[in-house]
């Protein structure tokens, strides 16, 4: 994962051997950023997964999986010293906690997503079981991906809680809760689902929100369609296995044709069996799509945050206008707008001058406060817009690059599948010719 700027094309990664920290994801070289992001200083990987048994919150026994996070200082690695890594174990729920913390703490950042909690878009033969070893392996890769992305983000990578998560096993949960992020988490969730009308949202955020919806829609459509295709392809391959059996039975009654038929039958069996690995491999592509499906949600959240802030600003501003109007009315005695005070004044007579003075004074204070509030809110909004735009641009570039590479690697998988098919049928043809 050295930052030599070389973009490792996935085309060279034909053999998917046991991942080690050195290989990492070719993603990591692509994620090196300007600025001192954590990933430049620390080599990170999620090396292993292990099953554990323990007791959960209600003291019931449960099986769960833990993942080994290994870290090494980058300068040591670059010097070639090859030190032993520091390591600790974390389970999925801790990753979730970390991410929730990041979401709340950095509302203007498109926070990288975690691998899916439960297997979704499953084609029917594939296991939907969370304990299935293939699922665990893909989750391991997804968790590593998450950490690498977070650690190479210019804003997120500086977070202390993140650092703690990576380097110190104990006391981390307490530290997270101590930040008090949970209180904000609830209000954030409420804000995400609330409906309110914003009068002047930033057009770029409106566009981005629209894009995030479309992205979500298309990636989920694609994932569903892909699962259905996988299902059907499985059927096509497996039915060919029947040829294996019938050729074998037929070869028993033949003299000269027998050997050729028998061997051809074996190749048909091999053909039918080959689909399992092919489709398991394709799950990695599906995972890449799923990552961006989740990313779309994170993007949307940032746009919503802007809307909320903008809405609050508009509310503040409107409130200020109203108060100023009230002051004017009070000062000049002219009633412009309908108010209960105005009506009662008319009916029962105006109030005493002392009361009026008191009220005016209060209003002035409120107006002052309001002005400060609007100024602060405006600043907040501007900052958010700036930060948001920066991150959206970063996200866009990352997305274009990642997805293009994903498509290339998908095409490579298809080529590999075709080559296997040609191989098997050529072998079978050899046998037929010998019949």
């Amino acid at each position: 994962m050295a930052d030599d700027g070389r973009d490792e094309s996935l085309a060279t990664d034909e053999e998917d051997s046991e991942p080690s920290c050195e290989e990492g994801a070719s993603l990591s070289t692509a994620m090196v950023d300007d600025g001192s992001t954590l990933i430049r200083r620390l080599e990170i990987c999620v090396a292993e997964a292990e099953k554990r048994t323990g007791k959960n919150a209600v003291n019931m026994g449960e099986n769960y999986t833990v993942y080994l996070i290994e870290t090494r200082p980058m300068d040591a690695v670059n010097d070639g010293r090859n030190p032993a890594p520091d390591s600790l174990w974390r389970r999925y729920s801790e990753f979730e906690l970390l991410r929730n913390y990041l979401l709340v703490t950095y509302p203007c950042v498109i926070v990288p997503p975690l691998p899916e909690k439960r297997a979704e878009f499953v084609w029917h033969k594939l296991s939907a079981d969370n304990m299935d070893p293939d699922f665990v392996e893909r989750r391991r890769v997804g968790l590593e991906n998450f950490l690498l992305r977070v650690a190479s983000h210019p804003v997120l990578s500086n977070d202390k809680i993140l650092h703690h998560f990576l380097t110190e096993e104990h006391g981390w949960k307490e530290a997270v809760y101590d930040t008090g992020f949970q209180a904000k988490a609830d209000s954030r969730l409420r804000a995400l689902s609330a409906t309110f009308r914003v009068r002047n949202p930033d057009k770029r955020f409106v566009e981005m929100k629209h894009y995030s919806d479309e992205l979500q829609s298309h990636t989920s459509q694609l994932l569903r369609a892909r699962a259905r295709v996988a299902d059907r392809l499985y059927g096509v391959y497996k039915v060919h296995g029947n040829y294996g059996r019938v050729f074998s039975e037929w070869s028993a009654i033949e003299r000269e044709m027998g050997d050729g038929l028998q061997s051809a039958g074996h190749h048909m069996d091999a053909f039918a069996a080959s689909i399992d690995d092919i489709l398991e491999e394709e799950e990695h592509y599906a995972d890449q799509l799923k990552e961006y499906l989740s990313y779309a949600e994170a993007l949307r959240a940032v746009c919503r945050k802007h809307e909320l802030t903008q809405f609050e600003l508009e509310v503040c501003t409107q409130d200020l206008v109203t108060k100023r109007q009230q002051r004017e009315e009070l000062a000049t005695g002219m009633v412009r707008t309908f108010s209960l005070k105005g009506v009662t004044n008319k009916l029962f007579g105006a109030e005493a001058p002392e009361q009026r003075e008191a009220r005016l004074k209060l209003l002035e204070e409120l107006i002052c406060e309001g002005q400060d509030g609007v100024k602060d809110k405006t600043l907040e909004c501007q900052e958010q817009v700036e930060r948001g735009l920066v991150d959206m641009q970063r996200f866009k570039e990352q997305k274009d690059k990642d997805l293009k590479e994903a498509l290339i690697s998908y095409a490579l998988m298809q080529v590999s599948m075709c080559k296997k098919g040609i191989q098997v049928w050529s072998n079978a043809k050899e046998c037929f010719l010998k019949m």
């Binding site: 059927g235 029947n242 274009d400 043809k429």
Partner: protein, 439 residues
């Protein structure tokens, strides 16, 4: 029991209706004068599906080179008719639709090229319809009961289920008819049959009197009700029957597998098309990613077309041959049954004759000896045909299965090329982008 006389295999002997006869000695089934087109056959200029029929041709020979080009001889065919000594070549092609007030039907061109003296001309070209082929098959079956007559494709098709005039159906049927004639032409005895000669050469077959008598089942009437029971069938014939039964079963299984594959492929194709269209609609949303996504949609689309071709081939070329072999097996079993009957008749008569001799010293009549001759002839013919059939079967299936393998290989090659060219485009663009970035 009288000693068995050994017979030499190959040259047909004795039986009245078999053997070679110069064509001049056989009464031609049609009258001497040329028969005009029967009234009522009008030919419409335009028709969906096939180009319409032209007037039934006079014997204008097909061009020599085109005839040879269309022949699908297997050079490895062993046996009596190796390609060097072949002197009779037959091809079926050029289907045409004929519409009359009474009926609509298809005719095929039957082209013959030969150096045999039994034929007046070196080349012939006639038009025949399915009925005519059926007539020939029945005539051959009748006149050569000891020989295996190749099967014809199914006569009746359920109207409404199969379109008798669709290109695929006609194409498939035509190939089967071509195969039928080639098998007859390759047979050392059947190819000299006068009915075959008439079929290939006569301008118009007058066959109505023949057909009315016989049903589709086409069992030869001569041996159906001989009433004799076979005592002991020689083991070799029992082995043949068992082999045929098992083989027939395996072919049936293969047929079912192939149909299942077709079904799965069809469903796969449906989903694949939908899958490709999602890439296209996503591409419309993107900028940088538009070309890559469209590229994937394009490759998927190419794979769809390749799969269509593969499936079509399976149903057009693979399945019909399988099914035809099942019919072929039935034909062979019929011949075996007839042989059994022949033997049973002989044994029955012999037994009766011996009993009479024991009673009143009447000598065994000559007919009984003739029966014995028949049996031995039949056995010899059948053995020869069996060997030939086995050889042909081996050849045919070798061809069929390697063809299937080839089509699958071709499918994967097309798909591979589609994905590889996409990768090239995308990767080129990547290096393009990178160089433009660093500049």
């Amino acid at each position: 029991l009288p000693a068995r006389r050994t017979m030499s295999v190959g040259a047909p002997k004795g039986l009245a209706s078999s053997g070679q006869k110069p064509i001049t000695e056989i009464t031609h089934p049609l009258s001497a004068a040329d028969e005009p087109l029967s009234p009522g056959v009008t030919l419409c200029p335009q028709d969906a599906g096939l180009t319409n029929g032209t007037p039934v041709e006079t014997s204008s020979p097909a061009s020599v080179s085109s005839l040879f080009n269309r022949l699908q001889l297997d050079d490895e065919l062993d046996g009596d008719t190796s390609s060097e000594t072949k002197d009779l070549f037959v091809t079926v092609d050029d289907p045409k639709k004929h519409v009359s007030t009474m009926e609509t039907y298809i005719t095929y061109r039957v082209s013959t090229k030969t150096t045999r003296i039994e034929f007046d001309l070196p080349e012939y070209s006639v038009r025949r319809r399915y009925q005519d082929f059926d007539w020939l098959r029945i005539k051959l079956d009748d006149s050569q009961p000891t020989h295996l007559v190749p099967p014809l494709p199914e006569k009746f098709v359920m109207k409404g289920v199969v379109d008798r005039f669709s290109e695929e159906f006609v194409e498939t049927r035509m190939k089967a008819l071509d195969k039928f004639l080639k098998r007859v032409a390759d047979h050392p005895v059947l190819s000299f049959n006068p009915h075959f000669n008439a079929f290939l050469t006569a301008k118009d077959l007058n066959k109505r009197q023949g057909l009315a008598l016989l049903t589709k089942v086409g069992e030869s009437v001569k041996y159906v009700a001989s009433g004799y029971k076979l005592r002991a069938r020689p083991a070799e014939y029992t082995a043949m029957v068992e082999y045929l039964d098992t083989f027939s079963g395996k072919l049936g299984t293969m047929d079912r597998i192939a149909q299942r594959i077709l079904k799965e492929q069809s469903e796969y194709l449906t989903e694949l098309r939908e899958y490709g269209s999602v890439y296209s609609s996503w591409a419309a949303l993107e900028e940088e990613l538009q070309r890559p996504l469209e590229g994937v949609a394009g490759s998927v689309s190419t794979c769809c077309r390749a799969m269509e071709d593969l499936s079509e081939n399976m149903s057009q070329d693979f399945l019909p041959v399988l099914r035809e072999y099942v019919l072929y097996i039935e034909s062979m079993k019929n011949v075996l049954r007839k042989r059994d009957q022949c033997q049973a008749e002989y044994e029955g008569r012999l037994e009766a004759a011996i009993l009479r001799r024991q009673e009143d010293r009447t000598p065994v009549p000559a007919e009984v000896e003739k029966c014995q001759d028949k049996v031995e002839c039949f056995n010899a013919d059948l053995k020869a045909d069996w060997e030939r059939w086995q050889r042909n079967k081996r050849q045919d299936f070798k061809q069929l299965l390697t063809g299937m393998a080839d089509k699958n290989i071709s499918y994967y090659e097309k798909c591979q090329s589609a994905w590889e060219s996409l990768i090239t485009v995308l990767q080129d663009k990547q290096t393009e982008d990178k160089t433009s970035e660093t500049n």
